[in-house]
C-alpha cells in the first residue's frame, strides 16, 4: 500500500498545486477515517486557502498533518505565504467582502467548513491554520 505520510508539505507555486493540495487533503482525511462530507469540506477549504496564496502572494506552502490519540483524530492544515499580508483581517473575514472580484466566499466561507480556524497576517507572513476533528 502506498499510503501518504502522516505529514506532507506541498509547495504552492501554480494553479496545479491547488489541485495537488486539495487532493492531498482529501487523501489524508480519508485515511484517518473521516466521512466524505468532512473530506469534501477539508478539500474545499484547502482549495480556497491555497488559491488565496496564488492570488495574493504568488507562492507559499501548505502543510498537512495527521494527529491521532486515544480520544480521536484530527487533521491540521497550515497554509502560509510571504506576501503583502491582509491589511484588514476583520474585513477580510466578513461575508461578501472580496478584493479580487470573487464571490467573497473565500475566508468566511472556509471558516464555516472547519472545526478550528486561526489566521494571522502581517506584511511578509500570512498564516492560516485550520483543522477538523473526529472523536473515536
Amino acid at each position: 500500500m502506498n499510503e501518504p505520510a502522516p505529514a506532507e508539505r506541498i509547495a504552492i507555486r501554480s494553479h496545479n498545486d491547488i489541485v495537488t493540495a486539495r487532493h492531498a487533503a482529501r487523501e489524508h482525511s480519508a485515511r484517518l477515517g473521516f466521512g466524505r462530507a468532512y473530506q469534501t469540506r477539508l478539500a474545499t477549504a484547502v482549495s480556497e486557502l491555497t488559491r488565496n496564496v496564488i492570488q495574493y502572494a504568488g507562492e507559499g506552502s501548505c502543510l498537512i498533518e495527521e494527529h491521532a490519540d486515544e480520544d480521536g483524530c484530527s487533521i491540521r492544515v497550515s497554509v502560509e505565504d510571504h506576501g503583502p499580508g491582509i491589511p484588514d483581517l476583520a474585513l477580510a473575514l466578513a461575508d461578501g467582502f472580496s478584493t479580487s472580484g470573487g464571490l467573497g466566499a473565500g475566508l468566511p466561507g472556509t471558516r464555516r467548513l472547519v472545526d478550528h480556524f486561526q489566521i494571522s497576517s502581517e506584511p511578509g507572513l500570512t498564516r492560516v491554520v485550520i483543522s477538523i476533528r473526529k472523536a473515536r
Partner: protein, 130 residues
C-alpha cells in the same frame, strides 16, 4: 486537459470528468461559450457528476458560464451535483450556484427539451439524429 463538448443536434453536452485547474476551468468556459455561439445551440447540459470538490472559484466559473450561455440565447442545466458538494457549497455561502440543476444528465436533457419546447422553439434537435 481539454473537456470534450459533444453535440446532439442543437444541444451541447459537456461532461467534466476530472478535477480541473483554474486555467482549465477558464478554458472550458471559453470553449463552451464559443461552441454555443458557433452552432447557435438551443440548450447546454453541463455534467459535473465526477467533480468531488467545487470551491468558490469553480462555482463562480460554472455560474458565469451558465449566465453567458443564457445571454447568448440558449437554455442551460447543471447536472449531477454531488451531495457533499451541495452541502459544502451551501455551508460556504449562499447562491454559489444559481443555475438550474438536475440529478443527472438524463433529467437534464429532458428538462432542456421541455424548456426549449416551451420557448416555442420547434427546431429542437437531438431526436433528429436518431
Amino acid at each position: 486537459m481539454k473537456i470534450p463538448i459533444l453535440r446532439l443536434g442543437r444541444i451541447l453536452l459537456a461532461s467534466i470528468q476530472e478535477d480541473l485547474t483554474d486555467t482549465e476551468a477558464m478554458q472550458f468556459q471559453s470553449d463552451l461559450v464559443n461552441e454555443v455561439a458557433e452552432i447557435e445551440a438551443l440548450g447546454v447540459a453541463v455534467d459535473i457528476t465526477a467533480l468531488d470538490v467545487v470551491d468558490s472559484y469553480m462555482a463562480r466559473v460554472i455560474n458565469d458560464t451558465a449566465s453567458m450561455v443564457r445571454l447568448l440565447g440558449a437554455e442551460v442545466v447543471i447536472c449531477g451535483v454531488q451531495p457533499f458538494v451541495a452541502m459544502t457549497l451551501i455551508e460556504m455561502g449562499r447562491d454559489l450556484i444559481g443555475a438550474d440543476c438536475t440529478f443527472n444528465l438524463d433529467q437534464g436533457l429532458e428538462q432542456l427539451k421541455t424548456r426549449i419546447a416551451s420557448r416555442g422553439d420547434i427546431r429542437f434537435a437531438g431526436d433528429e439524429d436518431e
